[in-house]
């Protein structure tokens, strides 16, 4: 809604006083508003205030490319109207999509540095087997051997709406902690 912060309100045309004519400046190109069209109206802060009907589009040579648009509006709105909104209201509205876990950088696996986002992305690709998630991310293959992340990965799957019954858990493997090779030597040699 480009224009100056100046409008002209003319209440002479409707003797009942229900409507008023408001002139607003208009700087967008030809054809963006046309006579008889119902348009959405904006106030001085760009907020939407109601609707009106275009009665006249005036374009004179000395006005360069600027036009004057005459709008018929509800009399009560007349002094609030400052411009016209022609953009689709959906366009440019804030993104309200819920990213949930997919936008969460919380660490699920500290050993291999795997975040909730990493897991959620794979779940959204259709993975339900925690072993497939493990294979793709190394989540659960670090020094703790999956002690920490197992329940967390399961939790992310559930937060993503996966029914607990269709979740396949980790295959458990020894050890529960890392052991040096020398600790495992057979003593028969001594």
């Amino acid at each position: 809604m480009p224009g100056l912060a100046i409008t002209v309100v003319d209440r002479r045309f409707d003797s009942s006083g229900k409507t008023a004519q408001v002139w607003v400046p208009w700087e967008l190109g030809d054809g963006t508003v046309s006579v008889g069209q119902e348009v959405r109206l904006t106030g001085f802060e760009g907020e939407e205030v109601g609707s009106g009907i275009v009665r006249h589009v005036r374009s004179l040579k000395w006005m360069d490319k600027r036009k004057m648009v005459q709008l018929e509006v509800d009399s009560n709105l007349a002094t609030e109207v400052a411009g016209i909104m022609i953009q689709d209201p959906e366009f440019g509205s804030p993104d309200t999509y819920d990213y949930g876990s997919a936008n969460d950088q919380t660490m699920v696996c500290l050993c291999e540095r795997v975040t909730k986002t990493d897991i959620a992305r794979l779940v959204r690709l259709g993975l339900r087997d925690m072993n497939a998630i493990k294979a793709a991310t190394r989540c659960g293959m670090g020094a703790c051997n999956g002690k920490t992340c197992e329940s967390l990965v399961r939790q992310v799957l559930m937060e993503e709406g996966v029914p607990p019954k269709s979740i396949v858990g980790y295959v458990k493997r020894p050890f529960i902690m890392e052991l040096p090779l020398s600790a495992l030597l057979k003593e028969t040699k001594q």
Binding site: N131, A132, A136, R173, E178, P180, L181, S182, K186
Partner: protein, 384 residues
């Protein structure tokens, strides 16, 4: 309606599906597990060698190596590929004789492999026990990759090529009509198809049986382990062909992955038949002794995780590839003898071309040496 049902989304079935789809064939993959690679694919250690004694296996694995080494370039996905070679250090005269006798055939089939003296081996295997070291072979273009990453990447690529996955589904019967395959009946559905590929790994014999075919594939168990990652110091995978002094190992092998972990495994002696995948308490003390004997510097290595998997073994140590004799449309890519990961892409590419065109890429005589109709007791792979 699908063109082919591949039974088994594992080390062989996945690459086969991938190459079949690239041949323009519509593939349906059936697997009883909840996702791809959950059988023995993920139990593989990740070594990829064309260092074999059998010309067909050498050629198939050279083919695989081309897929592994160019995978990241082609798909943009890192599968942990590392071209570090395979090294067979030798401490016994008889092993020197065995390995040297294979060199002419290996060279003839384009394998880059050389015999190194003891000093040469010491250079490529820093810290190896010097006492009694005679020398050994090094095949520099062999390598390693991560079976887990490769399975995940293959699954993604297959989906993009339109392969249909059916998980948690058990193939129960191969449907036939006038001695021709017409589909597969599973516990959940009947899938009409012109062809069936048995790529069921350790369950290959059971799956063959649902088509009334008998094949000599029997699983035996092996355990493996992995350490914490450490600074890279070891390029090749090391295979020690000596049996262990404890009387339980016929050889053992270890190496360092691209991410720095040390991976290790041995071949039990006698073999342990069966499909039990629980780890034993026996494995680690035995392999700890063997690794420390050969490379004492590993004493502080922190061992992180162990697992157990099965080799789908054939009597002669070579895979079974080809078409079933008595049933049109039934193909077999089974009996990888623990080398499904390294042979998978080569086998998959050849089987796909064979199914699509009637001809594999492999020379006919080599392909036929792996036929399901061969004499399984005529010869034996020297480097099983």
């Amino acid at each position: 309606m699908t063109d082919i049902v591949v039974i088994g989304a594992g080390a062989v079935g996945l690459p086969a599906a991938y190459f079949l789809a690239q041949e323009g064939i519509h593939v349906t993959l059936v697997d009883k597990e909840p996702c791809a690679g959950q059988g023995n694919f993920k139990a593989a250690l990740g070594g990829i060698r064309a260092t074999h004694s059998d010309p067909a296996k050498i050629t198939l694995c050279l083919d695989s190596l081309r897929t592994f080494s160019t995978w990241e370039e082609k798909t943009g996905t890192d599968i942990g590929w590392k071209m570090g070679g395979y090294c067979f250090p030798v401490y016994r005269q008889q092993d020197e004789t065995t390995l040297k006798s294979m060199l002419p055939i290996q060279h003839q089939h384009n394998l880059k492999i050389d015999w190194l003296d003891a000093d040469g081996i010491k250079k490529v295997v820093p810290g190896i026990k010097e006492e009694g070291l005679i020398g050994g072979t090094l095949s520099v273009e062999d390598g390693q990759a991560s079976p887990l990453l490769f399975a995940a990447s293959l699954t993604k690529e297959c989906k993009e090529l339109g392969v249909e996955f059916r998980f948690n589904e058990n193939a129960e019967q191969v449907l036939t009509k006038d001695n021709r395959v017409v589909g597969v009946k599973t516990d959940k559905a009947t899938i009409a198809a012109d062809y069936v590929l048995n790529a069921a790994g350790c369950r290959a014999a059971q799956i063959a049986a649902i088509a009334n075919i008998s094949i000599p594939v029997a699983p035996d168990s092996h355990e493996g382990g992995v350490s914490m990652p450490m600074k890279h110091f070891l390029d090749p995978l090391i295979v020690d062909l000596r049996p262990g002094p404890e009387g339980r190992t016929s050889n053992f092998y270890f190496g360092q992955t691209k991410d720095g972990s040390i991976i290790f495994c041995y071949s039990p002696s006698p073999i342990i038949p069966g499909e039990d995948r629980r780890c034993t308490s026996e494995f680690l003390p035995i392999i700890a002794n063997r690794m420390m004997e050969m490379m004492p510097r590993l004493k502080n290595l922190l061992i992180r995780r162990l697992w157990r998997g099965q080799y789908p073994a054939t009597p002669d140590g070579s895979p079974i590839l080809g078409q079933a004799a008595n049933l049109d449309g039934l193909y077999l890519a089974v009996g990888m003898c623990g080398q499904g990961f390294m042979m998978g892409p080569g086998v998959g590419r050849n089987m796909a071309h064979y199914i699509a065109t009637g001809k594999p890429y492999l020379e006919t005589s080599l392909f036929e040496s792996l036929s399901p109709q061969r004499d399984f007791y005529a010869r034996k792979e020297a480097l099983k």
